[in-house]
Symmetry: C2
Subunit: 325 residues, 2 copies
């Protein structure tokens, strides 16, 4: 910066102002400074700027995975919104509360202006660390208590409940659930509970539950079919906690010549791209992952820049009924 100041014949302050408060410096002076800076290939050092100003213009996000279109969409929404507002994204991938804590420690040392977490299942130390840091934090993909600071998501249970009601209304009576259940994770639990609530209200069996080992594999659907049929030969529908399970299940039905939905109805969760294309097209719950990312970024920045922001933001969900159920 001092090179630029010297070459342009102005003080450091004027260079700083030329970049950061265009209004405050004379148009001529500013143009000259910018020209010199461009010529010299000067890129302002935002590390020094951060240290001096206490504002990093960086938002950190910790997601469990990006090989799953839901979170990939959220990261995309975050990235787009942050870039628009001149912020950068510091990304950490952590799929357990323990890894989340260590990502948090690493990331906090970078003094981000805010943090986006996934879900509300955290280690107590993580929560303590966050409170002490005192920065805006949004928990995404969940809306229920406890909330550390702000939450952006939708009612996971209601969405699953709605799909349960739909299947029941279509006349299915022996309905299984293919899910995934890491310990104490409310994001997964709420879906299952919402779905079971629909079954219970209708007086149906709600214990046809299968939990896959992995969240992301197509195999989840296949294994669920095997396991659930063993328990209930009259099984006539399966609700999958993700579209990937549902797709795996459909592929398996094709191989076994089980007709969908005639012999077995299938419903998914997520409305991934494949849902609209697979044969038969998949009924699913549309979740707004991109909007979650956008809204999370907006809430963080509003707060970081001293504006008001809601504690909770519901992006909603929607049933998308297609051919599979």
């Amino acid at each position: 910066m001092s090179d630029v100041a010297r070459a342009a014949g102005v003080s450091l302050m004027s260079v700083s102002n030329a970049f950061n408060r265009p209004a405050v410096v004379l148009p001529d002076t500013r143009a000259r400074i910018l020209a010199v800076a461009a010529e010299l290939g000067y890129v302002p050092n935002r590390i020094a700027g951060t240290l001096a100003s206490g504002r990093s213009q960086v938002v950190a996000a910790i997601v469990p995975s990006i090989r799953n279109s839901s979170f990939a969409r959220t990261v995309q929404g975050l990235s787009d919104t942050l870039a628009d507002r001149g912020y950068e994204l510091l990304l950490a991938i952590a799929d357990t509360p323990e890894r989340e804590l260590s990502s948090l420690q690493a990331v906090l040392g970078r003094r981000p202006d805010g943090i986006v977490l996934t879900g509300n299942t955290h280690l107590p130390q993580s929560v303590a660390l966050l409170r002490q840091a005192g920065l805006p934090v949004v928990e995404s993909w969940i809306l229920s208590e406890p909330v550390i600071d702000m939450a952006v998501g939708f009612n996971l249970g209601a969405a699953a409940y709605a799909m349960g009601r739909h299947l029941i209304a279509r006349g299915y009576r022996h309905i299984g659930y293919a899910g995934y259940a890491p310990a104490d994770n409310s994001r997964f639990l709420e879906r299952q509970l919402g779905f079971q609530r629909a079954l219970i209200e209708a007086g149906l069996r709600d214990d046809l539950v299968f939990h896959a080992e992995e969240h992301n594999g197509f195999a989840g659907g296949r294994l669920a079919l095997e396991a659930l049929r063993m328990r209930e030969p009259r099984l006539d529908a399966i609700f999958c906690s993700t579209d990937v399970f549902a797709a795996g299940l459909i592929f398996d039905c094709q191989r076994q010549s089980i007709r969908v939905p005639e012999d077995l109805a299938i419903a998914g969760y997520g409305d991934f791209e494949i849902a609209a294309e697979i044969v038969p097209r998949l009924s699913t719950v549309r979740t707004r992952g991109y909007e979650i990312g956008q809204a999370a970024a907006r809430l963080i920045l509003d707060r970081a820049e001293g504006r008001e922001a809601p504690i909770r933001y519901d992006v909603g969900h929607e049933l998308v009924l297609r051919e599979s159920s």
Copy 2:
């Protein structure tokens, strides 16, 4: 930090050393310092550390998209390797050379210790900026010239060529190509050229080429089928530049009762998870996206930490022959 130093009755230096050069401070002193730090909830300010030391322990990556399992895998490989070595990932998503440049300007201000780019199609200003910054940069998913600094990838053309040879060996004679072709992008061009080379060598028509508007949509396959059949009614095989196109094509064939591979053979590129599951299972080119991310991180860190690193690193590729061709 000064709070910690005071509370522990030592100098700033000792606190710094306790965190950064454990060997240099007495075990007792170090334990006391760490205990005090933990009690106070002290998280070292790495922004100040970066400014003072000139090393940020941050690596930036610019990818065109993450809603495509290839790059998602690369980001995962990058993230895992960086986290293991105590580095953070600054991620930018930019899908055109223009956006790449503006991401670059933003990211360079953060003084990363290295940068990972995708492909070798850049604006001249981007290259100039990078050269001036003088930090380690790796271009990923490409190996061909020109290389700015280092490259990690595999021979895109050879992989496509191999698949072309395979289809020809299987007896297909009217083979189409379903691709995507943003202006001047060598990553896409190399695949197409490699494939066409196989056709030309075999004396087959190499102009059955269809370019989709979008890289990521399932619709690409469907549109290709329509367009290519119009041009060549005897069309007996289609090579898709991504598995997503191939899957979309298979779904469309199911709808139209076109048997795969009997009526039409299909091959993909990428070996996404779906390839092994779809009916029929998809023949494809396995690309090692995760390894690309790992290797890119390794090369950057080796150089950033003063070690030698190769200019070019080939992760290889592999033909995975399944049922669809």
